[in-house]
Symmetry: C2
Subunit: 406 residues, 2 copies
């Protein structure tokens, strides 16, 4: 069993780095706060006897040696960055859960055949730099290193520059090495486990995602003397697309999700008809064919809406991954570990993307979920109980142990 | 006749202060660029022999003495601030048109009974600081001085602080003195004059306006694992209100205008369901009763939309003025001056708000419009021909002369 108290205390220590007034965390990727957080975790890993290395995407690997120096590691990890108004568990729970596994192995002086690695993946949230999971994506060979390093934030700063600035631009190549098995521990970020009073989610799949950037261009004009029929109002078009996106989500219920999360209006002045609007679309579905159908509906709908009011359209899909089926053997390891403790559980499909989704392309991988209060995540009020937190880490420990001792 | 070339050159000199890449101007109220612009104009006024004074709202009065030291002035003026992506004529044309009148009177050594004053009104656009025309509003006693000085920009800086910073916080009281007559020269900012090939608009009325600030609050949540029916998406609500505002505009066609110009989404992250959206609404109509009807439709519609998806609503009307009927005698002065030159013309209702709309509450006032290309304003491509610019200033000269020699 892990030391639940120690894990909780570590989580609460990390929650102070970027703490917000409403009890959440704002620790955007590659900011000074992200560096502070990384430094603390790396310090703990070294105290636990780990060898720490950083790759070219700034991913941090904290390794506990195995009996066979050459054997491929059993890996676990998640991210230490947060949303602008994020919670105290999203991501960081998976990183510190991995560290807790290592600390527990140390406590019990357990030797494993395979090395055990806990990882901090860079910029998982996709909030400061789009897309999400970009660094695990480079690790998995889905994106090139060049692509990863050149992603820009809203001010035009790149991941590469910001890694240099905070001192986490490592030298070792990103990816390209064998991994024996991988697991990621995470809060569910949705309402299902809590509603069904289950402690553990055995994650079998993750839904597919498509992210878009849309720019609608009309013509700026004066809000007063410009008659309604002469207007080419980019915000009117964007508003109709927001409603369309919502309708597409409901049309493919109950499994589809469809969201416009970000919008920038230009010139954003009260008495100017907006001439240009930028916004994003986020589509999700566990069935790739439905996702393709949603894509077609979006493209047709945007063209119709824009055409109807004289707007020009630029629509780009900037991020896509197909639904992921996690490795059957890894899923079974998680299930066995869960049953060992007698935790209530159910199989589930991840609604969020996770670094594990990319890792699954280059390693046998699966995930462990625990509930979060009211299913709320990406919100400062995100919460979880110490019991859930401990249970998830116990499952992670035993799933990893099983594979590390093969 | 005015010196059209000199007026054009002055306009082009001012257009360099805050010039944008697309040929427009960004000279937001009370920025360093606004100060630069004011300094240049004040310099020209002093060269033209004017006495310059600044009031507590930073309004600048450039006075050419009349024969009777005690007589109330004939006033003209407009604003020197611009929209973020504004044009080279909006506002500044009325200020420099007034200066050109003074220069022309000097050229011909014409003495007037009444003093003649050209005015720069502070923060007319309402873009950096809402509401629009706030300083002429204080001058007219519509707003208190305290209200005017405490208006804040998006960073929380007040008009009072910014006036101090740029050195235009004057000492003399704002308003409260007699004005014999007032005129404002402006581009139409709409398509009517150009479409009908008329050179001069004799402005008889201005439509009424209501401005609102709306905040819709839902709940931030993760765009991936949060099922559609559980969402309280503030941007979905805002989008539906944007469409509603447009429908209200069309429902009261052809005279109504209805615009959402500004929107801010929180937390504005691609994979977060927006928890809070702030936006503005701008309603206009020449009939106050219709404006009241539009107000009722907005309130009911916002309540229905928000209620339907579980959002909280805060809706505040932050700015209102009733339709303005300009002074009949001043309108006739403009008409006579127009006829004197044989310019094609028509009566019209101003679609935009102008400082003259507030001034009309404390002085006999009217306005002169000239066309602008394609009716486009509040846009960097805003344009006008030198012929129109000269014609408008000729009309202003003679309307003012008539009243200044009474
Ligand atoms: N787990 C998580 O919040 N990931 C961010 C990427 C996504 O939006 O799915
Ligand atoms: N003339 C002008 O653009 N005024 C700004 C106030 C308004 O929106 O009517």
């Amino acid at each position: 069993k892990v030391n639940g108290r120690r894990l909780w205390d570590s989580l609460m220590t990390m929650a102070k780095i970027g703490a917000t007034a409403k009890g959440g965390v704002c620790r955007l990727a590659l900011t000074d706060l992200d560096r502070q957080g990384r430094d603390v975790i790396v310090g703990w890993a070294k105290e636990a006897g780990c060898t720490v290395s950083v790759d070219q995407m700034g991913n941090v690997f904290m390794r506990r040696a195995g009996r066979h120096g050459e054997a491929a590691p059993v890996m676990t990890g998640s991210h230490a960055d947060s949303q602008p108004t994020g919670g105290r568990f999203d991501g960081i729970y998976g990183v510190l859960g991995g560290l807790e596994v290592i600390r527990t192995l140390n406590d019990h002086r357990i030797e494993t055949e395979h090395p055990v690695e806990a990882v901090i993946w860079t910029n998982e949230e996709g909030s400061r730099f789009a897309p999400a999971m970009v660094a695990s994506g480079v690790f998995a060979g889905v994106f090139t290193l060049e692509y990863g390093l050149s992603r820009k934030d809203i001010e035009g700063k790149t991941i590469g520059e910001e890694l240099q600035r905070i001192g986490y631009a490592g030298e070792i190549p990103c990816g390209g090495r064998p991994i024996h098995a991988a697991f990621e521990l995470h809060i569910e970020q949705g309402p299902i486990l809590e509603a069904e009073r289950k402690t553990i989610g055995v994650v079998t799949d993750a839904q597919g995602q498509r992210w878009y950037e849309v720019v609608l261009t009309g013509q700026e004009a004066h809000a007063g003397p410009t008659p309604m029929p002469r207007r080419r109002d980019a915000l009117l078009g964007a508003a109709r697309v927001v409603d369309l996106v919502n309708r597409i989500g409901f049309a493919h219920a109950p499994l589809a999700c469809a969201t416009v999360g970000m919008m920038q209006v230009h010139p954003n002045s009260r008495n100017v008809i907006p001439g240009r609007v930028f916004f994003t679309v986020d589509f999700r579905h566990p069935d790739d064919a439905v996702l393709a159908q949603m894509d077609a509906e979006l493209r047709q709908g945007v063209a119709d809406i824009a055409g109807g009011i004289g707007l020009e359209t630029a629509l780009e899909q900037i991020f896509y991954y197909a639904p992921v089926a996690f490795d059957r053997a890894c899923v079974e390891s998680v299930r066995r570990a869960t049953q060992r403790f007698g935790y209530s559980h159910r199989d589930m499909v991840s609604g969020a993307g996770h670094d594990a989704c990319y890792l699954a392309q280059v390693a046998p991988t699966s995930m462990v979920f625990v509930p979060c209060v009211d299913g709320i995540s990406h919100n400062e009020i995100e919460d979880a109980t110490p019991e859930w937190i401990e249970a998830g880490a116990n499952v992670l420990l035993h799933a990893m142990l099983e594979r590390a001792c093969e």
